[in-house]
Structures are given as C-alpha cells and as structure tokens.
C-alpha cells in the first residue's frame, strides 16, 4: 500500500519519512498536481506544487475530486474565502472546511480556485456551480477536513505538499 501511513503524524521525524515516501512518487512529474491517498474508512487528499499557494489550490482540487470529476464543474458562481490561523496546517484545514461549508449549505461544487497566502493568512476565490445530481453523479458528501495526515511542508524536491484526511 504505497500511500499508507504507518507512523504517528504528530512526530516530526515520522513526518519527514512520510514526505520522503510521497516524493518517491510525486517527483515523477514535478508539476502542480493533486492526488488521493488511502485511509481506512475515509480518504486522504493531497496537493503538490512549487509554492504553498499552489499546493493549497491543488488540495482543493483533490477535495472536489472526492465528490465528482472537477473537470465537469462549470465556473458559474464565485465564492470568496478569507481565513487566518495560528499555523499553516490549521489554515489548510480552515480552507478546506470553508469550501465544505459552502458545498453543504449552498449545494455547490467547485472546479477552480485561486489562492493567495501570507503569514498564515489566506485570501482565496473558488468558482463552481450548483450540484446537478444527474450530470455530476456525486459519489459522497464530505463531512469535514481532519487533523489526521495533516501536513503542510516541503518535500525533498523542494515542492510544497499540503494534505489531510477528509471524513466522508
């Protein structure tokens, strides 16, 4: 199981090892990308990019892809997200949870994002549309972003990786 986490993510040494495991696969492409990783009952989302902003943007794409194919989501509605947090990891959780709230309260799906960050502060925009069950065939609704597998750090290639497990 390539993406399996077997170590305690709260420990820095283990975190570095996990990032190294990620790098082995991620570095094949070396361009902004998102992916899912395995978690027992739920699903892990991961964004990778040259900047922290790009990693956050890609993580949001990974979040949407848990529900449906992001390529099939039209950009008809814009939502602005502004958040501030004590550290980047909690900021990632806040960013994803803000999107989850919008999806849940306003029946939206998002397919594209713009992210700006400075000093643990995020100013972002998300574009999407109302969910259309027939067209989007949404697989599952996401309940929340969690601290499990939560990490915002550079990998050995110098790329930023932003990831966590989401509860579905």
């Amino acid at each position: 199981m390539l993406w399996a986490f077997r170590s305690n993510l709260s420990q820095m040494a283990d975190k570095k090892r996990e990032m190294a495991a990620c790098v082995r696969v991620c570095s094949r492409m070396n361009e902004p990308r998102w992916e899912h990783f395995q978690h027992g009952a739920d699903i892990g989302i991961r964004g990778v990019g040259p900047t922290k902003e790009e990693a956050f943007r890609q993580a949001a794409m990974a979040l949407s892809a848990v529900i449906t194919d992001p390529a099939g989501i039209a950009s008809e509605r814009e939502v602005i997200v502004e958040r501030e947090a004590p550290d980047d990891e909690i900021l990632l959780m806040d960013w994803l949870n803000a999107l989850i709230y919008e999806m849940s309260a306003n029946q939206l799906l998002f397919g594209s994002f713009e992210v700006r960050m400075a000093n643990h502060r995020l100013d972002a925009r998300a574009w999407g549309e109302k969910v259309d069950v027939r067209r989007h065939e949404p697989a599952v609704e996401v309940k929340g972003a969690t601290c499990t597998g939560l990490s915002v750090a550079r990998n050995d290639d110098g790329e930023w990786v932003a990831q966590c497990v989401v509860d579905v």
């Binding site: 986490f5 077997r6 305690n8 993510l9 709260s10 899912h36 990783f37 395995q38 978690h39 027992g40 009952a41 739920d42 699903i43 529900i67 004590p86 909690i90 959780m93 806040d94 949870n97 989850i100 709230y101 849940s104 309260a105 029946q107 109302k130 969910v131 069950v133 989007h136 065939e137 949404p138 697989a139 599952v140 609704e141 309940k143 929340g144 972003a145 969690t146 601290c147 499990t148 939560l150 497990v165 509860d167 579905v168």
Partner: protein, 476 residues
C-alpha cells in the same frame, strides 16, 4: 495488527499494560482473526486514548475497531470530571449521534416480494438521499433552536410520529442539556434544509427480512419472528453535526495547551469537562444528538408514507433507536463505588443489560436492543445488552462491520452499476443517485459482520438475537 504486541487475557480479550504516558491499560475485544485484520493504527490510537486526563479503568476497542480520528472507530473511553476528565470532539466524531433505528412492519417477506420494485421506488421517492438532497422543511432560526432543544419530541409535536415512537428511542427522543446557543450560525445554516435527509457515505435505509433467530425469548420480547420484514435507518446529525465537530476540533486543538493538556495526537483534541470550552462543546454536541434523533424521526414518518402508498395495511412501529457516536453522562460501578462518568462511544453502541432504568419498560426485563448495521449485500444483526457487559466496557458493543478496504481501493475493484445488477440478481434492489457511491460501499469493502457480532457475543459485550438480510437498500 501484530498480536505479539498484545497480552492475551482470554480468547477474545487482549490487553496492553500501561507504559509511557498511559494512565490505564488498553483493552481490545476481538477474536484472533479480527485482531490480525486490524490496522496497527488502532493499537496506536487506543494507547493514545489511555493517556488522556481523567480516564477510568481502560481505553477499549470493540471487535469492529478500525483507524479513526484520534480515537479508533469502535472506541470506548469514560472520563471522571472530578479527576480532570476531558471531553473530546474527536472521541465523538464528526457525525455526532449517527445511529440506527429499526422499525417493525407487521409484514412478512411474502407480503413484500410481489411489490418489491414498487416499494423500492416509493421509498426512493419519499426519502431524500445523497449529495445535494434537500428535506421538505425549511426551518426558521426559532424553529431550528426548538429542534435542537427538543429532538425527536419536537418532530413528534410537528406531526412526524407518535409518543410510542419516543418511548422506543434513547433518551426518550430528547437529550437533556442541549444548548442551541452554543451551536454556530454556520452549523445551523448547514442544517436548515437538511431535516429528514439520509445523507451519503455509509448511511442507508434498508428493508430487511429476518433470516435467523438466535435468542427466542429476546426475539419474542422485541416482537421479531423468522421471515418478518423490518426497516433499518442508518444516519446521523447531517451537516449540523459535521460543522460542530469541525469547529470544536479546531478550537480544542488551539486551546489544549492553555488547559495544560499535552496531546499525543492533535486529532485527540479535548478540553476538561469542567471548563468553559468543555461545557460549550457538550451543549452543542447534545443539540446535535437532538438533531440526529429528530432527523431519524422525520425519516420514520417518510418511511411510513412510502409504505402506505404501496402496502396500506403495513403498520410501522419503532423497535429501538440507538446512537453510536456520542458522549453521555452515565453511572457506572468502579471498584465498588458508583461513579458519574462521561462515556465516549465512537463507532460503538451502548448496550445496557436487563433491568437498567434507561431501557424502555417493555424491554427492561430482557435488555436493550443493540442494532448493528452490515452491508447492502450481506446482513445486519439485532443484539441485546447483557448484564456482564457493564463490567467489560461500560456496557458497550460493536456498531457495524467496519471497513477493511479504502474507498479508493473499492472504486478500483468494483463498478457501481455492475454491483447493483449483481445484487438485483440476488433479490436485493438498490436505489441510489450515485453509482460511484455504491461502488465505494461495496459489501466486499467491509469486514465480515457475522464475525464481528460473534466476537461481541464471545467477549460478553452483547448477545445475538436475530440476523437480518437486505431486500431493498436506499443509498445516498
């Protein structure tokens, strides 16, 4: 999980003695096969739980335990507020008061067989399920607060059910101590139009038939006979509970150090029970319990409408309604003394034995029904609480099959539409807006529920009463 790292106390009880920062032992109830199937994360998480302030006796893992958030899913832990005990948002989980309600119908399998497709369609039409589905109600701010305060009692007052339903619901349908003002506007917004919806993921509504009786006196007391048709509803507090879980997890992570709590894992975020944050969370969590109870009550009403449209003589009554993601105040005997404890059950079912005052009077002599959800292709079970369960894990039992395969793996292995065709050939009708969602919930992605309930029985956590097999499954 490697069994070498555990001490085998008896056939189905495994123990990790306190070491490092552990305050109490960790105990796993499972057969050797189930322990071997468990993720190593379960061991790590149950050890972490054993380190939390004020924990009593032991941190427990049920036979269906798997990797959760801070607590394992299938985790039980009780805390004493007088000894600095904590309440943990992760220990309750994101889907607060997710649970199972089972309805008796007065019908047999033969009554349903001829009209099965019609009944499946009627249920699918009546019960909103899946992403983006909306309920019939659009609650105002005042109505939302009344719902959060009143739970299923509120729903019955609004015409969605009867007093008899409430007598067969935990807490008589209303959790005392709810504080609607502790629930954020965001959480309320997520719920405004979600009352009476099933949700998605592992939530479902099933029409099932009774295929085996294990304990005839208990089955008789529960009103269950071989070949009977029952309906089981598995869902929780929907967007409101998810939002409360999200917000308090964050707040507890940030505030833990201010309360002098050294978290072994951030996901274990908690606050002292006797602290402003702990009390605020408990008030919000109890409001979410009421939301879940009201939700399952409204769905019961919709199920009755769906049955009436196809089989008018069906008479649907509630067998029982039990939640498996909660923190509840209970009295338990510890070393000869009765203590008031805050019992967390994350993916674990309360299982009170005979003569417990919280069990409905009509069932009190036999014990509390314990409702265990399986998968859409296998079986579910009705169990009963036992007297010895009190001494095992604060009267707790398993809650379901427990996943053995991730969603990613499941979608690679199965196609939703093929799965639905295969199940239809076996006489199980699936109605779902999401083929991918069905694939993620494929029966093969779960552990063998029969092995889980058998292990619960062997460990003395609860006793099997009846096996239920699905005929219709509405999946979000």
């Amino acid at each position: 999980m490697d069994t070498k790292s555990l001490q085998r106390v008896s056939g189905d009880e495994w123990r990790i003695e306190p070491h490092g920062k552990m305050l109490v032992p960790a105990v796993i109830y499972a057969t050797e096969d189930l322990v071997r199937e468990m993720d190593e994360k379960v061991r790590e998480q149950i050890v972490n739980v054993a380190c939390l302030p004020g924990i009593e006796k032991a941190a427990y893992a049920m036979p269906d335990a798997h990797w959760g958030y801070g607590f394992p899913i299938g985790g039980v832990a009780a805390f004493d507020p007088g000894r600095g005990g904590v309440v943990s948002a992760g220990g309750v989980g994101f889907d607060i008061s997710c649970g199972v309600r089972t309805l008796l119908t007065g019908l047999t399998a033969e009554d349903v067989e001829a009209v099965k497709p019609l009944l499946a369609d009627s249920l699918y039409r009546h019960i909103p399920a899946g992403v983006g589905s909306r309920g019939l109600l659009d609650l105002s701010d005042a109505e939302l607060d009344e719902m959060l305060e009143g739970g299923a009692q509120w729903a019955v007052r609004r015409g969605y059910g009867t007093d008899a339903d409430l007598s067969r619901t935990e807490e008589k349908g209303r959790m005392i101590g709810a504080r609607p003002e502790a629930v954020s506007e965001f959480a309320k917004d997520r719920q405004r139009r979600e009352m009476g919806t099933l949700g998605s993921g592992n939530h479902y509504l099933e029409v099932q038939h009774v295929t085996e009786i294990f304990d005839h006196p208990a089955a008789e007391a529960f009103g269950i006979h071989l070949n009977d048709i029952v309906v089981s509803i598995h869902c929780g507090s929907r967007g409101l509970g998810h939002q409360i879980g999200t917000e308090f997890l964050r707040e507890m992570v940030v505030e833990a150090k201010n309360y002098g709590i050294d978290l072994p894992d951030r996901e274990l975020a908690c606050a002292p029970i006797e602290s402003p944050l702990g009390e605020k969370y408990l008030g919000a969590m109890r409001a979410a319990i009421n939301c879940a109870l009201a939700n399952r009550q409204i769905i019961t009403h919709l199920v009755r409408q769906a049955f009436a449209a196809v089989i008018p003589r069906a008479e649907l009554t509630v067998l029982y309604d039990v939640s498996h993601n909660t923190c509840k105040v209970e009295e338990h005997r510890i070393d000869g003394h009765t203590k008031r404890l805050f019992v967390h059950r994350k993916g674990a079912t309360r299982a009170f034995g005979p003569n417990h005052p919280a069990v409905p009077e009509a069932l009190r002599a036999i014990g509390q029904p314990v409702l265990i959800g399986g998968t859409m292709g296998t079986a579910s079970y009705i169990l009963v609480g036992t007297a010895e369960s009190e001494g095992r894990a604060f009267s707790s039992s398993c809650h379901g099959a427990g996943r053995q395969m991730s969603r990613t793996q499941a979608t690679k292995r199965w196609r939703g539409r093929e799965l639905m065709d295969d199940l239809a050939e076996r006489g199980i009708l699936i109605r779902s807006p999401s083929p991918r969602g069905v694939a993620e919930e494929a029966p093969g992605a779960y552990k063998d529920v029969s092995a889980v309930v058998e292990a619960s029985e062997k460990a003395g956590l609860s006793r099997r009463v009846a096996r239920l097999e699905p005929l219709i499954c509405i999946k979000g």
